[in-house]
């Protein structure tokens, strides 16, 4: 990864503060280095083996400016990213919605600059530092006060696999103003023979203002040799709601980390996720919910299905500050292991500094039920389909967390089939 730290010329380098921001990212990434098994936050998901590859960071080096042919089976305002480059955005945006390439917003929208790095702490998260060092692409999404977005915004991030290992670096800033309502979908996919590895490194900084709500859906379906590291940092103001659902089924090494700060009274968060993989993949779901004020609530349901020699990781933290009385924080992780070599590592943490709170966490691990499997097969259903039916049934309750019906059926379909449940 060291070659990444060489000083590349990037858009906006003529702005001293932006140049310095990138330099700070390089310094921080060099200082922290790639996490190893000794790094507590990364002890189950060891990225050093994967990241021993020298990934090339060469934005726009390939000059691939073709909008990828990715069809989402639901109506959306679409933003296209191809190999880490922001290509286009549908131009029929309703009033109250502003979308700009991030660097453009940083250069021309006063105030956006203050949002950069305000939530994602590059001194604590090495890949946020890497993201800062390579800050060049991303979107600035602004939903103005009172706007109720009817169609979701879809950020389609597609990779056409090339014959060298490349880094694709994206940084999105999302602002949902007072009493606005929006849905954002992130899709990560690829085409081409997955010959070489690539690494997608994403940082999202999301603010949900008082009384506003954001539903954030993500589907990670990267190539099986790819790496996918995402840090979602979210701050929710009084009475605001952040609700996310993430399905991960691709990549060799993937981590979706979500840090939510419930900063004011009655702010709420729901962070749900599902993952399903085989082979040798490691898929990590890490959450950190911080309750700062009274009346804040959070809930998390994470369910995984792990086969082959793959590994599922869940680290979930709920922190309740001394002022945060009358809060509720719930967390449940359940996994199904499909093989003897599959592995699950779970680390729940509750830090409660206030009285009068309701908190719980739980973890469970199981297998496909042999009786259920036999029952389905004895009715003529082939083994592989019977297993898929049981897996789908197992994930049914977490799928039900997806409020948008069209997005829910898309995610269910993407999970592998049109089978029942």
């Amino acid at each position: 990864m060291n070659t990444l730290l060489s000083d590349i010329k990037l858009v906006g380098d003529e702005l001293p503060w932006l140049k310095e921001y990138r330099a700070a990212g390089r310094r921080e990434f060099a200082r922290q280095g790639i996490p190893t098994a000794k790094t507590e936050a990364w002890k189950y998901t060891k990225p050093n083996r994967f990241l021993s590859t020298d990934f090339v960071f060469d934005p726009r080096g390939n000059n691939k400016f073709t909008v990828p042919a990715v069809n989402l089976p639901f109506a959306a305002h679409k933003l296209y990213f191809e190999n880490g480059v922001f290509l286009s955005c549908d131009d029929d945006l309703p009033s109250g919605v502003e979308i700009l390439p991030l660097i453009e917003a940083l250069m021309f929208r006063p105030g956006v600059k203050n949002k950069l790095g305000a939530l994602a702490d590059m001194t604590k998260y090495p890949f946020a530092a890497l993201n800062a060092a390579c800050l060049n692409e991303g979107a600035y999404i602004h939903i103005k006060a009172g706007t109720r977005l009817e169609k979701p915004l879809a950020l389609i991030s597609h990779v056409t696999v090339v014959d060298r290992a490349e880094l694709y670096n994206l940084h999105h800033i999302v602002e949902i103003d007072e009493n606005a309502t929006a849905e954002v979908v992130e899709y990560y996919g690829y085409t081409g023979a997955p010959k070489s590895s690539y690494l997608v490194n994403i940082v999202n900084e999301i603010t949900v203002a008082a009384g506003a709500s954001l539903r954030h859906y993500k589907f990670q379906d990267e190539a099986f040799k790819a790496g996918h590291l995402a840090l979602n940092t979210v701050k929710v103001a009084a009475g605001g709601l952040y609700k996310s659902f993430c399905l991960q089924k691709g990549a060799d090494l993937a981590r979706n980390e979500t840090q939510v700060c419930l900063a004011e009274e009655n702010a709420a968060a729901e962070v749900d996720a599902a993952y399903k993989m085989n082979g040798w993949a490691t898929i990590d779901t890490t959450t950190d919910i911080e309750h700062l004020k009274s009346g804040t609530t959070s809930s998390q349901l994470i369910k995984g299905v792990v086969g082959g020699q793959a590994k599922g990781v869940f680290q979930g933290k709920i922190h309740i500050a001394p002022d945060a009385v009358k809060t509720e924080g719930y967390q449940l992780h359940k996994a199904m292991l499909l093989s003897d070599e599959a592995e699950i590592d779970v680390k729940p943490e509750l830090e409660i500094f206030a009285d009068d709170v309701k908190c719980s966490h739980g973890a469970a691990c199981g297998r496909l039920d042999a009786e259920q499997l036999f029952y389905l097969r004895s009715r003529g259903i082939p083994k592989i389909e019977a297993e898929q039916m049981l897996i789908n049934a197992y994930l049914n309750d977490v799928m039900a967390k997806v409020d948008n019906e069209n997005i829910r059926s898309w995610i269910k379909l993407s999970l592998g089939s049109n089978l029942p449940a």
């Binding site: 036999f374 029952y375 097969r377 004895s378 009715r379 082939p382 083994k383 049981l390 049934a393 029942p420």
Partner: protein, 253 residues
């Protein structure tokens, strides 16, 4: 000469290294209804599970021919597609899998195996609802997940409904009458009788005569200690009811 539908030859089999079925022989021709009666723990369910290919059982010797095919070489789903159906003694609950979707998948898997086109969804649901009425299972129940929250009797009726929908060539009813009150027994028996068409064969496994009063078998086999110890007509069931297994076995050893 037509081949028998099912031929079990000198079958010895067991579970966990323990031999339960010993040199078992049985031949069932098309259209015949056989009853296999035996005391609890004699290995009746072991036999039905082996016929359907459930894992965990081992066959130490013998062969099973179904429509002239070596049954033991087929997977459970292939056996179902060849026309074997097992109405289970204790059907498992499958949360999250709705009955209609499951049954549609099942019917279409079997049709696909046989090279037949898949059924239209609307027609299928209509058909299942019609059949459901016969087994006193209404549309609301059929929407539910497989066996979830069903009483013992409801589970048995759902097994009978599946049999009616899948129309197997050979149905095994494993203790289909246990846990049924007299009305439910009548419903299940009517459903079974409706499927007797002179071509379809059945093996009714039971330890009471109760069901056999409603579904009259062509042959009755008394099964004990891993093998059939006596075969007779329908009157054998009544005789057994009089003497009880213990008395019967004393006489027939």
């Amino acid at each position: 000469m037509t081949i028998p539908l099912l031929e079990i030859e000198d079958l010895s089999a067991g579970v966990d290294g323990k031999e339960i079925i010993k040199d078992f022989n049985l031949t069932i021709n098309s259209g015949e209804v056989h009853a296999l009666m035996g005391p609890n723990g004699a290995g009746k369910s072991t036999l039905s599970n082996i016929l359907c290919g459930k894992q965990g059982y081992h066959v130490t010797s013998g062969r099973i021919w179904f429509k002239g095919k070596d049954l033991l070489k087929l997977s459970p789903e292939e056996r179902a597609c060849e026309g074997i159906f097992l109405a289970m003694q204790s059907p498992v609950e499958i949360p999250g899998v709705p009955i209609t979707a499951f049954l549609k998948h099942s019917v279409n898997a079997i049709r696909k195996y046989r090279g037949e086109p898949e059924l239209d969804t609307m027609e299928f649901i209509k058909m299942v609802r019609e059949e459901g009425k016969k087994f006193n299972l209404d549309a609301e129940m059929i929407k539910r997940a497989v066996n979830v929250g069903f009483s013992g009797g409801e589970k048995k009726r759902l097994e009978a409904l599946q049999m009616a929908v899948l129309k197997p060539d050979f149905a095994i009813l494993d203790e289909a009458d246990s846990g049924l009150d007299i009305d439910a027994l009548k419903i299940v028996a009517d459903g079974v009788n409706a499927l007797r068409d002179g071509k379809r064969s059945m093996l009714i496994i039971t330890h009471f005569q109760r069901l056999l009063e409603h579904v009259v078998p062509d042959f009755v086999h008394i099964y004990a200690d891993g093998r059939i110890i006596k075969t007779g007509g329908r009157e054998l069931a009544a005789e057994l009811e009089q003497t009880g297994y213990a008395g019967f076995m004393k006489e027939n050893r």
